[in-house]
């Protein structure tokens, strides 16, 4: 079967392209039911992007939810097998509260998860697939990478109590250096560490310019392991056709209750918020009683409609106007002829504001083109 991709919407084309990409790297498709037991989500509520979950009581009395997320279900069904990595991708509709409209929305989401005995290669593969996904979506994209291990080590050294870290992380995510300074002063953090935190949060750019600065800034032994992991990953991506989109940015934050290690966010020019988000989430695995590690990401396809620069100009390419008395064979012949040139619709009259490229009339057996819009 040959598919004419002009009939596909932009997000549908992206889904096909990403599915093809992920399959090529050994990821198999994960399909799940629209519903899951509510219990799965309520136990890990903070992990979900939005609080709201649509629930209903099933015929057997169990409280069910329309899935707000796919990752939790994948983890629930994963097995801890030493030495083995499970590689899955999904394209599923999820149901969550839109942060724009504050009402429930059905959102098309594509993503992948790499779960099991993961190592630096698994993380590198997932980061590179995130970069490739962005490049497939747009010519102008950026993948920001951070390492939560570096931030955690910094907070440990600075003596920032666990109870204050959520607040500090929020400021890191805002690149809010002036308030970080005030908070650190309030917590009695030494000036040197305050300056280091400020420098870390202000650092942004391509790995080639940022890494030398980071090495100077992060001399303490506590940073050695996470810094070397970050360095190795971006160094391995260097030279690839998508390495130009990689940036290091410590304002990429994810909930430290669930995520650890490398985290990343993807942006596309023309879309005001991140379209891709992911990272290593071993802590969520532990919370769900799994021994394995995990890394993955999701692409939010609902945001891509903003990329389509031109809205549809015409409702249909050709309108064929005819009355009830027209010979059906003549009408069919005309439809077949114009269908080869694009979409055709046979009508007896047209409502206001109905737009078309070409208007054809069939009258007394005669087919006449009476209007052509360019």
């Amino acid at each position: 079967m040959i598919i004419n991709d002009t009939v596909l919407k932009y997000d549908e084309k992206v889904i096909f392209a990403l599915r093809e990409l992920y399959s090529r790297y050994g990821y198999s498709q994960y399909k799940m039911s629209k519903f899951e037991e509510y219990d799965l989500y309520v136990r890990n509520k903070d992990f979900l992007i939005s609080d709201g979950v649509i629930t209903f009581t099933d015929t057997n009395g169990r409280l069910m939810a329309l899935k707000p997320d796919v990752t939790l279900s994948i983890i629930k069904n994963s097995k801890d097998i030493p030495g083995f990595v499970q590689k899955l991708y999904y394209d599923e509709n999820v149901y969550r509260v839109s942060d724009r409209t504050h009402t429930f929305k059905e959102i098309m989401q594509v993503g992948l998860e790499c779960i099991g005995d993961i190592d630096d290669y698994s993380i590198l593969e997932v980061v590179s697939l995130a970069a490739k996904s962005l490049v497939k979506i747009s010519d102008s994209s950026v993948l920001d990478i951070s390492h939560l291990g570096i931030l955690s080590a910094m907070f440990d050294l600075a003596g920032i109590p666990e109870s204050d870290r959520d607040r500090i992380m929020k400021l890191v995510g805002e690149k809010n250096v002036h308030e970080l300074e005030r908070e650190c002063r309030g917590l009695g953090v030494e000036d040197d560490y305050t300056e280091q935190i400020k420098a870390l949060v202000s650092t942004y750019g391509a790995p080639k310019t940022v890494l030398p600065r980071l090495k100077e800034l992060l001399c303490d032994e506590a940073f050695a392991e996470p810094l070397s992991q970050l360095e190795n990953i971006v160094a391995s991506l260097d030279g690839d056709e998508y390495s130009h989109i990689i940036r290091i940015d410590f304002s990429v934050i994810s909930d430290i209750k669930y995520y650890n290690g490398i985290v990343f966010k993807g942006f596309i020019s023309g879309i005001p918020q991140s379209v891709l988000s992911g990272g290593q989430y071993d802590r969520l695995m532990r919370k769900m009683q799994k021994r394995s590690g995990a890394v993955g990401f999701a692409v939010y396809l609902d945001l891509l409609e903003r990329l389509i620069s031109e809205s549809r100009k015409y409702d249909v390419d050709t309108v064929i106007l005819c009355d009830r008395t027209a010979n059906v064979s003549t009408v069919r012949k005309a439809v077949e002829e114009y269908a080869a040139k694009g979409s055709v619709s046979v009508q007896r009259s047209l409502p206001d504001k109905y737009t078309y490229k070409r208007l054809v009339r069939i009258s007394e057996g005669e087919v006449t083109e009476i209007e052509e819009n360019t």
Partner: protein, 213 residues
């Protein structure tokens, strides 16, 4: 094609001060000073486009990418919690978010506190942090009248000089948070117009440092 940076400025005196800072940073746009009813002003040469927006709407323009950067009060940022970068505290438009009440007000912890405010989220999170049960009365203006007419026990509002409060026999009982104007940026624009935004941040930081010296 040269990149143009879209800047949302708050209408009014604060906006004029902010524009002066951008102008001194090398992002001038002389047409903005012309007396007319235009809303958008552009200087293609330096790559900047300014527009005047209602101060409370700036965060929305920036969060949704209609403006790449803008200047908004910390009160608005705390109330709406937009997903933006907060790059600088400009140290202008200074005031404070405060709890005020009639000067003879005494808080009775046995009763739910009635709080009139335009800033429901700020009030709610402040009273949650001090474990106080409250009843929020959301008003859109003339907040000071609420305790006088016994609509509320206290108000949570912006206090600049305290003159209006004093004239109505009200006084500040608690300062919740100091407020000033902040330079905010859209997260995506920060990536794709990074050079221009970093330049503005750097130039304005230098101005702020010079002012503090």
């Amino acid at each position: 094609m040269k990149k143009i940076l879209n800047v949302a400025l708050p209408k009014g005196r604060l906006g004029e001060k902010v524009y002066a800072m951008f102008e001194a940073a090398g992002f001038e746009c002389p047409s903005i000073k012309e007396q007319n009813r235009k809303l958008i002003f552009e200087n293609e040469e330096v790559g900047v486009r300014y527009f005047w927006v209602k101060p409370s709407d700036i965060a929305i323009y920036v969060e949704r990418g209609a403006a790449d950067i803008g200047v908004a009060g910390k009160d608005i940022l705390l109330e709406y919690n937009p997903d933006v970068y907060e790059l600088l505290d400009l140290g202008i438009g200074k005031c404070r978010m405060a709890v005020a009440a009639k000067s003879d007000f005494r808080d009775d912890p046995q009763r739910t506190l009635r709080v009139a405010t335009k800033f429901s989220n700020i009030a709610q999170s402040y009273y949650t942090s001090v474990d106080r049960d409250i009843d929020i009365i959301h008003l859109n203006g003339s907040i000071e009248i609420a305790p006088i007419l016994d609509l509320s026990d206290v108000i949570v509002d912006i206090v600049e000089t305290g003159k209006t409060l004093k004239e109505n026999d009200l006084e500040v009982f608690e300062t919740i948070v100091p407020i000033s104007a902040r330079l905010i940026a859209n997260k995506s624009s920060f990536k794709f117009k990074n050079e221009l935004i970093e330049k503005i941040v750097c130039e304005i930081s230098a101005q702020l440092e010079a002012r503090n010296d």
